[in-house]
């Protein structure tokens, strides 16, 4: 199908002339004739020529060889090899931060690799921009859609389509759309505006957009994270049809069931390296989970057994809405005690952020209660919550935790700046603020020339030390830490973890949200696994295994007796000890 005729058929399947044209012997098919036919059908010649050119470099085999990429000190990809053939659906599995997206961004030309090369059909190719990638037949559907909400489907697709006619490009596109609709079951009304569409439909628009641009290999970055189960099924039908037509698909996910049901082969990344490759028919969930989270953990840090302190935080049946009118947290309950680190594991996007925001006063819960030391603080403002002794190391530290253009000393009191110590009536007390900042710098080993440096000049690790120092220097009763070591180098990671354990020893209650199972196992006394807004279970670390937690993170209940995990949907408030 991938010949000039095939391309023509894409556009005008019902056209008799075209079919007649396609049936002619090879020698007779001159470009002029093609043009005549196309003109008669009202299709721009350039379209066909362009499209056939796009199809010509058909990707029979794509290889990424020894790809490495580092960001500062973090190795995002390390000598990664990937190959995918025509008609193949390859699953790319790994936790967040494992390097999946980096690898795909390299393939799509968004990031340049430090070393390694990409070959198509055995020929090395240079991909320096998405434009190059598209020209080679590589398309990408991002996790967050790149669509213009107020425009119609056809307008969105016409946008950035180099061969669209100058006048009414969307009509031109609408014609093609119906073709793809029939071929792949991608039904969309081209006149509908994007904001009227469901997430699933928007995703279809993105897929069609890539196909119209001539994508032979399609990269889907966590395509199911925004879909309902039904929409996911529909997507799979589309992907299977595409695969049958010879399109290749790279399917990024961290959901094991999906990988097993749709992919032919799977490649697992962990900490930037390939942790395993397999045919999906040869592996089961358990094995994949093990590859994804890593088998053994080296406990570098001692976690002394401590007698649990008093009840500090109690969350009862909390329901929290998300950003897009969905319910992000669907009735979660747990308790955190003094001298305890309570971990919430799970792949991000399962309601952890909304849960943390509801507890720290940044988001309103619609149902349920949050009690701190027996007092109701449900839906209190962030300032009240902070003044009651809850401190918060936020996720995305640069976005939430600091003000990059302000100096270190100014950032050292963000949140505490209204305390008596730092401000009198109207004025800030810069003397005590500077003293406080210097103390944090010294005590938490923040490497910074002076406290008069803008925070944006600090490394990620030093920013996090500053934030942690600020948050635990104020004698809190509860510390909520979200992904505190995400993206940090080994040294900073270990330092932060030691600090958390030290504070635990001093009686602090810590609620730790992390995707890093190693971290969870190393630090936590008890672990809850969050999946789709609920806790899959709460287990004590001593009884938990990596494998079980990994399975729960992927939404499966491990069916083990006495292995640790107990399902607790009903009696969620009373954690199992």
């Amino acid at each position: 199908m991938r010949t000039v005729e095939g391309a023509v058929l894409h556009f005008a399947v019902r056209s008799r002339e075209v079919r007649r044209f396609a049936a002619r012997p090879r020698g007779v098919r001159s470009g002029r004739l093609l043009a005549t036919i196309m003109n008669r059908r009202g299709i721009a010649t350039s379209t066909v020529v362009r499209y056939s050119q796009n199809i010509m470099p058909k990707i029979d085999l794509l290889e990424m060889i020894d790809i490495s990429k580092s960001f500062h000190t973090i190795r995002a990809n390390q000598r990664v090899n990937l190959r995918i053939g025509s008609g193949e659906i390859l699953g790319l599995l790994g936790e967040n931060g494992a390097g999946k997206t980096t690898l795909m961004n390299i393939l799509y030309g968004l990031i340049a690799p430090d070393s390694g090369e990409i070959r198509i059909n055995g020929q090395p190719v240079g991909i320096q921009s998405p434009r190059d990638a598209i020209g080679l037949g590589i398309g990408m559907v991002h996790q967050h859609f790149m669509l213009i909400e107020n425009h119609t489907v056809a307008e969105n697709i016409a946008l950035g389509l180099s061969d669209a006619p100058f006048l009414s490009p969307s009509r031109h596109v609408a014609r093609r759309l119906s073709e793809f609709g029939e071929r792949f079951g991608l039904k969309i009304n081209p006149q509908e505006r994007i904001w009227q569409l469901s997430a699933g439909e928007q995703q279809r628009v993105e897929i069609v957009k890539a196909l119209v641009k001539g994508a032979d290999l399609l990269i889907l970055d966590e395509p199911t994270s925004v879909l309902t189960p039904q929409e996911t099924e529909q997507l799979f039908v589309i992907l299977r049809r595409m695969s049958a037509e010879g399109h290749s698909v790279i399917f990024i996910s961290h959901k094991l069931e999906e990988i097993l049901s749709i992919c032919h082969r799977v490649m697992v990344l962990r900490k930037g390296e390939v942790a395993g490759k397999a045919e999906t028919k040869d592996v089961d969930k358990r094995e994949l989970a093990r590859m994804m989270v890593g088998r053994e953990i080296i406990f570098r840090i001692e976690r002394p057994a401590l007698k649990r302190g008093e009840l500090v935080l109690e969350v009862r049946e909390l329901v929290v809405p998300g950003d897009r009118q969905q319910v992000a947290v669907r009735g979660v309950g747990f308790q955190v005690f003094g001298n305890e680190i309570f971990g919430i594991a799970g792949v991000s996007g399962n309601g952890q952020r909304e849960l943390v925001e509801a507890i720290t006063g940044l988001r309103r819960a619609s149902e349920g209660e949050v009690l701190l030391g027996g007092q109701d603080i449900t839906n209190a403002t962030a300032r009240v919550v902070a003044s009651r002794g809850i401190s918060h190391v936020p996720e995305e530290r640069i976005r939430f935790g600091i003000v990059p253009n302000l100096f270190v000393y100014e950032n050292a009191v963000l949140k505490q700046h209204r305390q008596r110590l730092f401000s009198r009536v109207l004025f800030l007390n810069f003397g005590s603020i500077r003293k406080y900042a210097s103390a944090i710098i010294e005590r938490f080993n923040v490497s910074v020339p002076t406290i008069d440096t803008p925070v944006k000049n600090l490394s990620g690790g030093n920013i996090q030390k500053l934030i942690l120092g600020r948050e635990i220097s104020g004698q809190p009763v509860l510390l909520v830490a979200a992904h505190p070591t995400y993206g940090l180098d080994v040294g900073a990671t270990e330092y932060i973890r030691r600090q958390l354990l030290e504070k635990r020893g001093e009686g602090l209650a810590v609620l730790l949200v992390s995707e890093d199972l190693e971290e969870i196992f190393e630090l936590c006394d008890r672990i809850a696994v969050m999946y789709e807004g609920r806790f899959m279970g709460i287990v004590s670390t001593a009884q938990a295994t990596m494998e079980n937690i990994g399975l729960m993170m992927a939404g499966s209940m491990p069916e083990i007796a006495g292995g640790g995990a107990d399902p607790i949907p009903a009696d969620a408030g009373r954690g199992l000890e």
Binding site: A382, A386, F427
Partner: protein, 361 residues
């Protein structure tokens, strides 16, 4: 071979670099304005010289420059506050007018009834409130209904200007003005004294200088100023830190609008002594104030200097209208071009240009 250019973020910036970029932007702006002069058949250097001579070359020029700097200092320093919080207040013009309207009402109605010493302070107070209310409205619209403040402040300019037009041809039209669309002249107790031989209403000048100092202290030393900077630099962090966005935004616009209102009081009580057409009460001070704030790098104290600079251009612009026969719009072109270059220059404070030579593979 091809040459491509790319902007690369710079990790560290020094004050010296900022200053250098600033001066270079001004210079580039002058060159661009020079092209405009040249097109009009005027030697650009001669025109610049005339502008300088007109504004700073004589006692009269200097006194006029200072007179025009008074509202610019007030508005400019007030705008630095709003712009620091990334609240784009384009409505200082109308905040000035509302200040003028409110103060005039006091002057006309209470000017002869109240004890003399009370009138002027009361006019400044009420003028401040008038500007403050007019400034707080768009702030409320923004935080409550998400209305873009650029649109609302800009549109409120027209509302205030037409309201003033309505007053001077309608209910407030003066009986003693022989049919001119003016209000009656303010009573003596409601006018500001000037330095003899000039139009410098020194009380407003002192207030303006004090405002610049107070706003500087407010931004850099107070809890409110700290919160305002956090809101402007990183609203997400402000939310995380429990800073009340609503309160901060409304207060800052009360202040920013209020000082613009003070400028309006100064213009009516110090110069015109009655209300008249909006374009006469304010010679575009609300808009020039934007450039003043920008050239001052959003530093209220520095806006004193940049206000004098732009007041000089206004006065010098008037001079070249007469001596070189250039149209009145020349000054607006001048200011507009300079603002363009100042804003463009900002790019180079945080980024540097890298030229890449070579073949793309």
């Amino acid at each position: 071979m091809s040459i491509s250019m790319r902007l690369v973020p710079r990790h560290q910036t020094s004050t010296g670099r900022q200053l250098a970029v600033l001066l270079f932007s001004l210079l580039a702006g002058f060159v661009a304005v020079g092209v405009v002069f040249a097109v009009k058949g005027v030697n650009p250097l001669f025109a610049l010289w005339k502008i300088l001579a007109g504004s700073f070359g004589s006692f009269y020029g200097i006194s006029e420059t200072i007179t025009k700097a008074i509202p610019l200092i007030l508005i400019g320093s007030g705008l630095t506050l709003a712009f620091r919080a990334k609240f784009w207040n384009i409505g200082a013009e109308s905040q000035l007018l509302m200040g003028a309207i409110c103060a005039t009402w006091i002057g006309l109605n209470l000017g002869t009834r109240l004890p003399g010493w009370m009138v002027i302070p009361l006019m400044f107070l009420v003028g401040f409130l008038g500007g403050a209310v007019w400034g707080a409205l768009p702030a409320l619209f923004k935080v409550r209904f998400g209305v873009n403040e650029v649109i609302s402040t800009l549109m409120l300019n027209y509302v205030a200007a037409e309201f003033l037009n309505l007053l001077i041809v309608g209910p407030w039209k003066g009986a003693t003005q022989q049919g001119f669309p003016y209000t009656d002249d303010l009573p003596a107790a409601a006018t500001l004294a000037v330095i003899p031989g000039t139009r410098i209403h020194y009380l407003t000048l002192l207030i303006a200088l004090a405002c610049a100092v107070i706003l500087f202290v407010l931004v850099h030393s107070t809890t409110f100023g700290y919160e305002l900077r956090v809101v402007g630099e990183n609203p997400e962090a402000a939310r995380y830190a429990g800073i009340d966005f609503f309160r901060t935004t409304v207060i800052l616009m009360v202040i920013s609008g209020g000082v613009a209102g003070l400028a309006g009081v100064g213009e009516t009580a110090g110069i015109h002594h009655h209300l008249t057409y909006p374009g006469v009460i304010s010679a575009g001070y609300g808009f020039t104030g934007i450039i003043v704030a920008w050239l001052a790098k959003l530093n209220p104290l520095a806006s004193i200097v940049s206000a004098l600079f732009f007041a000089g251009i206004l006065v010098g612009g008037d001079a070249i209208q007469i001596s070189l026969g250039l149209p009145a719009a020349t000054v607006h072109v001048f200011n507009g071009v300079l603002l363009f270059f100042l804003i463009m220059g900002d790019t180079f404070v945080n980024k540097r240009l890298v030229v890449i030579r070579g073949r793309r593979s």
